[in-house]
Amino acid sequence: MSELKIVGHSPSRIDGLDKVSGAAVFVDDMDFGPNLLHAEIVESPHAHALIRSIDTSEAESMPGVVKVVTGEDYPYTFGLYMKDRYVFARDRVRFVGEQVAAVIARDPKTAKRAARKVKVEYEELPSVLDLSEALKPGATLVHPELGEYECCPWFFPRGGTNIAHWRKTRKGDMQKGFAEADHILEDTYTVPRYAHCAIEPHVIVGRFDAGDRLTLWSASQSPYTQRHVMAEALAPFGLKHKDIRIITPYVGGGFGGKAGVSMEIIGAVLAIAVKGYPVKVRWNRAQEFYNTYQRQGVVARIKLGAKKDGTITAIEHTMHWDAGAYVEYGANVVNAAGLSATGPYRVPNVKIDSVCVYTNLPCGGPYRGFGYSEFHFGLESHVTRMAQELGMDPVEFRKKNAIAPGDTLPYGAKMNPGNLQEAIDKVATAVEWGKKEEPGGPGKVTGKGFALFWKAPAMPPNAASAAFLKFNEDGSVNIAVSGMEIGQGLLTVLAQIAGEVLTVPISKIRVETPDTDRNAYEWQTVGSHVTWGCGNAVRSAAMEAREKIFDTVHRAKGLKKESLYLEAEHVKSTDDPAVALPLKDFVIDGIMVEDGTWRGGPILASGMFMPEFTSATGDPETSQGGHPNVHYTVGAAAASIEIDTETGKVRVLKAVLAADVGKAINPVLVEGQIFGGLLQGLGTVLYEEIKYGKDGRLLNANFTDYKIPTAMDTPDEIVPIIIETPQPDGPFGARGVGEHTMIPAPPIVANAVADATGLRIKSLPITAEKIALALKGIDYESVRGNYMGLCFKGRPEDYEFKTG
């Protein structure tokens, strides 16, 4: 392959000017004229209650109120992988803050005032706020009708219980595996819920016009999937897919929270309720915390067996997930973890049980890492402990067991390319593994921690991407995709891919944000897969355009197609060095031939990429068979920290992360993911903490008391390392990396804290408070008060893994 001119380089983002000048338009910035109506939601104050009655009469009679709707009006379920949600709660509410009714008014103030006048009578039910209670026989059921819910064929709900899904992976022979082990280590770890905290809150504007056309402007990662979920749910209104148009401009951060359909369906039904008027539903920050997806909490038990030379013989990993009131999306997080919770290791004997449990807390759902962020904390803490108990260096232990291309995955398929050994070596070198750092003063101690990570996109086996591409009169290009620009730089990367193929500089390529009427299909911008999937589609479209260009030149000039190539926006021929046809001359007009007639015309193309090798046909009892995950991106990370033993405060001196991305289409953007993801991950281990009261109400639904990293909280140094072992089916060899950079942060810190202080903390977050109290011999669990971060309040070792 000749040297790449655009791919592999780091041109400035094509949306940089828009964002720095204030020109970038987000949904809430759009103007809809004086007829824009505003909605305010009436929310449940209870975690679990029957709705006895709703009196909307006073609200309806207020001047300025246009309409009031309740769950009565919408007997339609929806959901991405399982249909377990109504648009508004109907017979019962299942979490504090759940939407019960909505007031639509001429102005937001009136809507707010009127919402307070809606009178709802509840009859409280026992709340399911404890995982072990939820799993006991005879437990209160969050979804008594679970057995009747429609769900995708690779989910296994247990009607009559609170188990919404149970993914089992079984490989080899566990008895034999543990018998072969010289040492077995078993322990439990807990990880609480977390909030995405994208800076832009969720917002949607809907307009159902007189021609029965529903248009939605949505801050979403997934316009086409939103359209699909809504088309299915709203079919009773007579709407079909073609009647719904979803437009998504720039999105102010997603991290998974703006995937799927959460509050957006409210905008859709309200638009239908006030035909002819645009209506806006905008979440405030508190609602952003308690009424969108949260990252689920999990209690995980790991039993690891290894020989004295460090070879892993068996892993048994059981995870009970606090999945919340509705799991239409979150059940797939549980599923994804259930397939891959061995971590990136060669393990001959595997038993994974990943149990998705309904609870009366907000919905769990997709969050950067999608189950992998959640399970790597326990797993990588456990791996380091095993190494130490064997008297082995934790890095050596990992090198010995690291999965390699061609190895068998937990569910039987084969591992894709990716150089974990190189990642481990480079990270170990960069963090100076083995060298004890000098503490910066009295009372301070230092330590280092290491972790591996892997993740595959967790998608249905037919998640496709597509692209439309066309040339303009000046030789510039428009590309219309539905992959979302959520900050990762997708638009720029796609322009680079097309530019490389067509030899057009990216300053002449516009990549348009989605409009489901005009842009080609994309399943969702999740799973770290769009550089790969949508990138493939764009490359395919660019190649088709190139084909058409060569065809036109061939027919007009008689030159052999095989002799043609593109260079610097010109068509050239190896047969005749004098040939240099500027693209702009003919990509719209065509080429005139001798007799004055024309050949060719506007060059436009399309591309589509569907991974045709994936399948979700694994055996329900073992997950063996099929190829559920397209490929994994692997990597390693390490942290060097200093702890003030009096205060427990952790200072990250250095954080190193290496990811094998196949091919960095834009290296600076990949580094952006490493810097951003690491810091987001460090937030979850060092101070981010969701706190629920015992009534299930979220107590810190604001930035005052849910602290996310500021510019003062960055590590002293971050070392990003890019490794490139090509992905054969990726555009120019690329694989994804968006989520991966967050995954190893908690275990590298946990392992570093253990290295520095001897404290092994098995529940997140590892705050200064926990460390300081532990160092003073005070047991945090017994003094923490009545707050909980997931539906389990207690020491990890107190959780009994019983399922009925």
């Binding site: 810091l679 990293p709 500021t710 510019a711 960055t714």
Partner: protein, 160 residues
């Protein structure tokens, strides 16, 4: 309820005198966005914690979500729309060239906070930059790319 009289507010917005009718309880952020046509200050938390509502009031960064529109009467407000009227400033150029931002939602607030910082302190240290930005939350970038761009701008765009 007794009807509260609306007031006329006159302010200088991005160099231009503007007049708008407000109710005393109207928030400056909302009036800027809905009545005065500037969309760059955003609503992120509406409690003064996240900084995306930042505007310059008489040259100083403030939280427009915690200011009543009526308090702006007689004052000067600058938003990002007003900074780049004659082309991007060197600071904005540095942000663009270095791919400092990702989703861009926090960018207007940070551009203003950094502009105010460099006006007061043309050669800030790394610590001073981070302190000046400590009230502007960014979830995407990890901040280092933003801090590096500000440093580059303060060195006149030169790389060190």
């Amino acid at each position: 309820m007794k009807k509260i009289a609306r007031r006329t507010v006159t302010l200088t917005l991005n160099g231009e005198t503007r007049t708008v009718d407000v109710s005393p309880s109207d928030i400056l952020l909302d009036v800027l966005r809905e009545k005065l046509g500037v969309k760059s200050p955003k609503a992120g938390c509406e409690r003064g914690d996240c900084g995306v509502c930042t505007v310059l009031l008489d040259g100083k960064p403030v939280r427009s979500c915690l200011i009543l529109a009526i308090e702006a009467d007689g004052h000067e407000i600058t938003t990002v729309e007003g900074l780049g009227k004659d082309g991007m400033t060197p600071l904005q150029q540095a942000f663009i060239e270095r791919n400092a931002f990702q989703c861009g939602f926090c960018a207007p607030g940070i551009v203003l906070a950094a502009t105010a910082l460099l006006n007061e302190n043309p050669n800030p240290t790394d610590q001073e930059i981070r302190e000046a930005l400590s009230g502007n939350l960014c979830r995407c970038t990890g901040y280092d790319s933003i801090v590096e761009a500000i440093k580059a701008a303060s060195r006149g765009g030169r790389d060190e």
